[in-house]
């Protein structure tokens, strides 16, 4: 507490912008909405008390607490800007506890054991032009100092609006897999333990990466099947296609929810039909599809919409889907409602009016989860209790166009 105050006062006194992420975080928190304001008041009181007691100021660089289930990573691609940003938020206090810089359209990752977070990213030697370098960077989540910087040869990253499952960690957090679109579909294998790029695996025309074990991942293919890929030793990868599980006119969104710990893949369509696939046995088991909306609701224009439109809570086996009344082809517009669905029965448990235009949802994976509702337009994260449907707190000023919410399933 005194340290946080110290950094704020130091930053204010000297007007310095070079004091690091912690000072910035404290400032952001101090200038923030409801929950953060009370922190600002508390900090001011503590500072006044220190001053009255004649306590000397002792500036230090702060460390964030270790990652827990309620650490929220918000990634802001800044509407395709060459430089992007990460915000680390403590969901319990609704405070920004750190920030990190990213390059062009980073793909963020968070280790399931809390040991690191990081990104596959892209920089250019003259801001947005010149020689391109793709790399994977891992950061210590307490200091935000880099612990690995691994270059990816031949600029293989797929530059696309951030889809979380275009870059993924294996369950043991030792391998990072990233997608290449052009000149041909492939998945890059990065050995995080050995801190080196390993190889590219050529794949058919399939997209997204869902690791189901440390050497197996699944993809979704153009023909409507899934592809199982065994990474294999010595570059000997094997692939096997599943049956075709959806029709050609059923459009699956770019932001499915996937729980690596339970192997559950939750994949809504434009109309709110939700495909669920259980990958836990290392073979795809297709569960009965769910309809999020009744036929009457569909007639009234109810459909999913936003960026990360769906979240899945593993322990309670619940699906959280953003929905609203919308015209056709407005599937990327934000939603004002959240539908809580029992994944097993498909029954609707709750319909929460969010009272904000929400683009992305995330959920903490603890027993009594928090729901994270991110508004790209408001540049704010609203934190809800999904049981009561009440907004508990919020964090504003999250960059220019924050779109991605990530948590760690610890």
């Amino acid at each position: 507490m005194t340290h946080a105050y110290t950094k704020v006062r130091q930053a204010l006194c000297y007007g310095s912008a070079t004091l690091g992420a912690a000072a910035l975080a404290a400032l952001i928190a101090a200038g923030s909405a409801a929950a953060a304001e009370s922190h600002g008041v508390a900090t001011a009181k503590a500072a006044a008390a220190d001053l009255a007691a004649g306590k000397a100021d002792d500036p230090v660089v702060l460390k964030a607490a270790p990652i827990n289930a309620r650490r929220v990573f918000v990634y802001d691609p800044k509407h395709f800007a060459a430089i992007s940003q990460f915000y680390m938020i403590d969901g319990d206090t609704a405070r920004v506890v750190g920030t990190a810089d990213g390059g062009f359209l980073s793909n963020p990752v968070v280790a399931s054991d809390g040991s690191f977070f990081g990104q596959a990213s892209t920089v250019y030697e003259r801001i947005a032009r010149g020689k391109r370098t793709d790399y994977v960077e891992l950061l210590d989540p307490q200091t935000n100092n880099p612990i690995a910087d691994i270059e990816l040869p031949n600029s293989p990253r797929f530059l696309v609006g951030t889809y979380p499952w275009m870059t993924a960690l294996t369950p043991n957090n030792k391998t990072l897999l990233f997608y290449q679109f052009s000149p041909q579909p492939a998945v890059g294998v990065v050995d995080l333990a050995g801190k080196k790029f390993d190889r590219m695996i050529e794949v058919p025309d399939c997209y997204h990466i869902f690791p189901s074990s440390n050497d197996t991942f699944f993809m979704h293919c153009r023909d409507g099947s899934l592809l199982k890929v065994g990474i294999g030793a010595d570059g000997k990868s094997q692939t096997k296609r599943t049956e075709i599980f959806h029709k050609e006119n059923e459009y699956l969104i770019n932001h499915p929810a996937y729980s690596p710990k339970s192997g559950r893949l939750v994949w809504p369509t434009y109309t709110g039909k939700i495909f669920q696939i259980d990958l836990s046995s290392q073979d795809a088991k297709f569960l009965p599809a769910i309809e999020a909306f009744t036929d009457a609701e569909k007639k009234e224009g109810w459909a999913p919409g936003g960026w990360q439109q769906v979240a899945y809570h593993r322990e309670s086996d619940r699906i959280f889907l953003l929905g609203d009344q919308r015209a056709a082809s407005k599937h990327k517009a934000p939603s004002r409602f959240l539908f809580v669905i029992d994944a097993k029965t498909g029954k609707r448990i709750n319909k929460i009016e969010l009272k904000h235009e929400i683009d992305s949802v995330g959920v903490s994976q603890d027993a009594k989860p928090q729901l994270y509702a991110l508004s790209t337009g408001d540049k704010a994260l609203y934190i809800f209790d999904p049981e009561t449907g009440k907004e508990v707190s919020s964090v504003n000023q999250l960059g220019a166009g924050p779109q991605v919410v990530m948590t760690s399933d610890m």
């Binding site: 679109f181 052009s182 000149p183 041909q184 579909p185 058919p204 025309d205 153009r222």
Partner: protein, 119 residues
């Protein structure tokens, strides 16, 4: 899409100049008897063609969706040969000067694949 097509056209011009004497040579006029490959329904309709060294292949896009022909650099191909985006009924011809197998894709649709085997 227009910007993309323009960029592709530029790339094709520079590739043509650089590769005038290479294994692959983009040509304005295909010589008589060159092999035809039609593009339709997101596919190269004859995904594999066999030709003799010194002859050419002409691709014709038959649908509204633009496609191109893109040879990536690799064994036998010194530098990328990225053809311009073809609109409906537009054509693009490449003369093959050296034997070998030349794989190609469509730049924005990398799942569209074809092969020219030059004997």
């Amino acid at each position: 899409m227009r910007a993309l097509a323009f960029a592709a056209a530029l790339a094709a011009f520079s590739a043509t100049a650089a590769l005038a004497a290479g294994a692959l040579e983009a040509v304005q006029e295909a010589p008589a008897g060159s092999t035809e490959v039609k593009i339709a329904k997101m596919k190269f309709q004859t995904p594999e063609v066999r030709i003799k060294a010194g002859s050419a292949v002409t691709w014709t896009n038959t649908e509204a969706l633009p496609h191109n022909v893109h040879f990536k650099s690799g064994p036998g191909v010194e530098k990328d040969v990225e053809g311009p985006m073809l609109r409906s009924n537009q054509t693009y011809s490449v003369k093959f000067n050296a034997p070998g197998t030349y794989d190609y894709i469509c730049t924005p649709h990398p799942f569209m694949k074809g092969k020219v085997v030059v004997e």
